[in-house]
Symmetry: D2
Subunit: 371 residues, 4 copies
């Protein structure tokens, strides 16, 4: 198992390397009848494209998606949806300086150990381009969720030491800056921090926050396949993520029960609700009908233009300098990746939640038979 398949009912199988012929994904398990065209997916892919600002690489990558199967007359058919993005940049580069050397912070060493072998062209499968498959599939999951009343969105909540100020935060503002920060003052500060990083030929990390709204209560399977557990895996599977939090996260560890417990109340519509959301929308591993809030910490881009000590395949210590343009930060382009992973996870568990109660199933099949 190479680990490139995700999900149980809404399953995706991604493929492709940085400098191979293309990148793609097959979605197995999307219900029939969902309107879907290439533009639905392209919108998501465009958000992860490089070259959007001076903090992201200037390479022009087309990343045009093509739907190859599973859609007929504008609607999903229930059979596998194959999505493909052909790589346009397959020119042969000069990799001689990194070919036999393990770049610090990259997967070069571990890939070589695992596979006896390494695709040195731009990282191969460990490249950030791998996420194209996730984002394309996530776009479909998001569209499905929307039809079922669930909305997923993500934004940058911190760039290095610069965090958004929640008192100022407005989600719509994230579209007004290239860092996808929903706080324009923080965004400006972050930009100048990034300029500084670039000047120092260094890189930095940051935090992406993701919100899932509208999940009915009870989504998530108890014990191992809890909603928060599944989301944690989803986020941590994104290259460069080193930490994940739900709700108050690590803050909860220094809180007290009396502060951290969210009291229940009856809302204006007469439904049970919580007065606060320290839990981040999850209780006992199941959605509690408050917004699900998840945060992912990204490490700094490992490719930096400073000399670094390392070793090569033959077991000799070496110094390396990584040339070429590299983003000083991954986070802005990763926002849509986190959103996609949350959408894939939520869709899968939402589908799974349909079979938890016999009364709902009886009704479902009775109605189906009556038609």
């Amino acid at each position: 198992m190479a680990g490139s398949i995700y999900g149980t009912l809404f399953r995706v199988s991604t493929w492709g390397e940085s400098h191979g012929k293309g990148i793609g994904v097959v979605i197995d398990g999307c219900p029939a009848g969902l309107s879907l065209d290439e533009e639905d997916i392209q919108r998501y892919l465009d958000r992860r494209k490089p070259g959007q600002s001076r903090f992201t690489t200037a390479r022009q990558e087309g990343d045009q998606v093509e739907i190859l199967s599973g859609v007929f007359e504008g609607k999903t058919t229930g059979t596998p949806i194959a999505l493909e993005v052909r790589n346009t940049d397959q020119r042969s580069h000069d990799y001689s300086n990194i070919m036999d050397v393990y770049r610090p912070g990259h997967a070069d060493f571990t890939f070589d150990q695992k596979y006896g072998f390494r695709d040195y062209r731009g990282g191969g499968r460990s490249s950030g381009r791998e996420t194209i498959g996730r984002v394309a599939a996530g776009a479909v999951a998001a569209k499905l969720l929307e039809r079922l009343g669930v909305r997923v969105f993500a934004y940058t909540s911190a760039i290095g030491p610069v965090s958004i100020d929640r008192s100022r935060m407005e989600i719509s503002k994230m579209w007004e800056n290239r860092l996808y920060m929903p706080d324009d003052i923080a965004a400006k500060e972050a930009e100048s921090y990034l300029e500084d990083m670039m000047a120092r030929r260094d890189s930095c990390g940051g935090v992406v926050e993701c919100v899932i709204e509208g999940l009915p209560a009870g989504v998530g399977e108890s014990v191992f396949d809890k909603l928060d557990a599944a989301l944690a895996k989803a986020m941590m599977s994104i290259g460069a993520v080193k930490g994940v939090e739900i709700g108050d996260g690590f803050e909860a560890a220094v809180s007290t029960g009396s502060q951290n417990n969210d009291s229940f109340c009856i809302d204006s519509a007469g439904h049970p609700a919580k007065r606060t959301n320290h839990s981040g929308g999850v209780l006992g591993g199941m959605s509690d009908s408050s917004p699900v809030v998840i945060r992912a910490a990204f490490k700094p881009t490992p490719s930096i233009a400073q000399p670094q000590s390392t070793v090569d395949r033959s077991g000799k210590e070496r110094e390396i300098e990584i040339h070429g343009r590299h983003d000083p930060i991954i986070v802005p382009r990763a926002v849509v990746v986190a959103e996609a992973m949350a959408a894939l996870t939520a869709a899968d568990l939402l589908l799974m939640s349909m079979t938890s109660r016999l009364d709902r199933m009886e009704e479902f099949f009775e109605r189906m038979r009556r038609k």
Copy 2:
């Protein structure tokens, strides 16, 4: 899918509720030939037992494990290993005050929404007793790992605001205090913090740190089934965990590439090694041969002896007071649970790593056929 099955090759299926007849687990996929007796498992279970200190509930739970299958003449047979702990405390309690009321911070509300139904006896499946199945299976995984050169251990790294001091830390010290903190000064401080919490009828959270040593490089499947992603799910699936970190975790988000990248060097044995371990032993989702370091943040125990606002099943706002003895902190008893989940995850991915390279497989089958 109720979510109680974990793993792909080393699979465990847990069952049981707090006040039912018992708790247990079936392990499917443990290789044949591992020496195993009940004592191997009991040692782990005893570490999660309550009543070990004045900070854990005084209930006397026997929690004696019985091996029902899969072991013959002292060794595993390769077929399913069924482990069972009968509940000794099944007396009928008086649940009338919580039966119809959703306790804040508990899974009562979400269980009821999901299943149309709720086992009010001590939380049923959402009780901490559910972890008995994990720990019993984890003991077997740990024994298997040990035979394959891998060691897993965990300890308390923080209780509320009291963290261990890494300059003072000595792993062996964790056995000298009831909080499993490898720093006796911090342990004392934490004890007095806990006394304070109890006096205020409040509770607190904390952090468990877990280390996996001896994993060969390359364990973990690229893209979705990365080692760190699998560990994140493993930890977050433990009730009360709200955050997970690998290596520097959230600190990495405020670091820079030049600081966060671990330089490679050649160690005294002539093998590639890393000078630092900011990565927490994982690069590109695969073990990099440094120790794997993971941290889990636990929220405060939700059961507190203070009045709390909540709602009941009929949709009325209510006040609730939770009686009975409850741990002011979950963390010390959760240390072995985190260790068990790490062992289960590492064992599963270690088995899976055997099929990544044709050259190793060819050798394997040639040797098998020769015998």
Copy 3:
């Protein structure tokens, strides 16, 4: 993976050996709200018990099932249902004559090769007693299916060369003879054939036929997880099964398109129906609303009281005689096993079928939210 877990949404995990402490199963994914007690399961287990007639072994096995979890106040809770049957016959037998010898037709040799090791006590996990876990779980699946309008039943269609005559067949007749044949004339003939076998210290095989009625059209997942494919695996996974057919089976291979195609018509209720059922209720791997008909061919019991040539563990040729009472035929006791496997398979795919269409899902979640 030891292969003892079955299903995707309705998952069962079986365990236990012939002469260990017990046999059991954990069901993960049974919806909440199903009435269930031990008697529901015992009824099924009693059908596979030996000692029911002079053609089955006289050993008295109690096989009393105990529900250990997942049922509260008489209804399933949605969490794992653990079922257990303790072995009552654990006396030490004398296995010295078979301990080191591979019995022809048994799994002794292959178990030893796979696990380096063999549980010689009554076959261990490869014993027919392994099916207790399947039958217990199947009883739960059958009860669930019944609530959803689906009925599964099985019967003996042939004993050695004696087949039922379909013109005479009456299902209710199967309960009137110990061979579970729905044709009393054939049953009598089969009985005298079996007497003859016993006199010759030989054994014979037979065929079990299983029918699933009431499945809505469209159950089964296209391509690999087809209904018929899943049923074929289910049946072939029963020890001693060597062939499986759906509908006309091998007869279809010698038929012609004009004969084998089932014409559609509109039935008296105004619904599409088929005039014939050569397809056995499956078209394109999905239920077509006709009864699903599956047949499984069982080989003769391998344990026979005649001398047989074989080899031992040390690589020497030997002669073996298998002592003790053994059924001259497996089939009558296997009828309920086939039924159980069909029920488990149908339940799993029925649950899965709920997510095939967006329109049905939209309706489902709208109704859920409204409540």
Copy 4:
């Protein structure tokens, strides 16, 4: 789950419809280091192409495969291998006569019921073209198996009532006739039977036999994931297959224990062997080191040029005539499909068999660490 993913460790995810843009497959879990080029796959695809004889459709389908990922410098990298065949025939046909009508023996009705929707263009996903993905992936599995000492092959053993004569059978002969029958006399007879079918505008079925040689003993997981159970599912998942047998299959049901048991002996190389192979190479669900023999019965092609009674989507009875050229028999083109499914199944279970014994695993990891 749409059911288009197959396998646990060697997993394939197929996609594509008859008249969409293409057909393909992603292989996740092929070990790194296997030499692989497009020609390896094309050879298999060419065997399932139509237009090879006057009994198969004359459509010229190019079916040129392209490797899009997972291969670098001529060897597999351990990451997903994406294979794609673009459809060349996407011309718009006139489907008006079948668009709203359910063809007898086809999946039109069940697809419509399941998905609320039907791709009437050549059957969409239920078309025989779906098998391109299986065959392409099977070619890779076969190459992997070959490197590990395992050989899979298949041939036609019967066309309608014409079976091969085993006393005359020579495998190499199968390449000398277009029906892939390893008996040229039977092949000639079958050809004239087929001519007769065509003259009568009818179709017929047949049987494919598949052999797996060289599997070490012990491959297959006990209880549910037995080798024979997995193969049965593999075969039955091929459209048109209605029956599956291992070894003597249904003949075993009319045999006796004394005839059907295969005696063990010591072969000339000093290894345990079986004197006969009634078991078809499988005992207790595990390979017994004899050749694994499996047979699949195919129903007659449902598309026949005779008028047939059926119903349409609006619930009216109709008569239908299916125009266009259709194979009077599926079997010859299905031989390679059966072979591919056997190879996929054997590869998956062979990989899985590596983790059954601790002693072998200890040796494996010790050798890995030493290097």
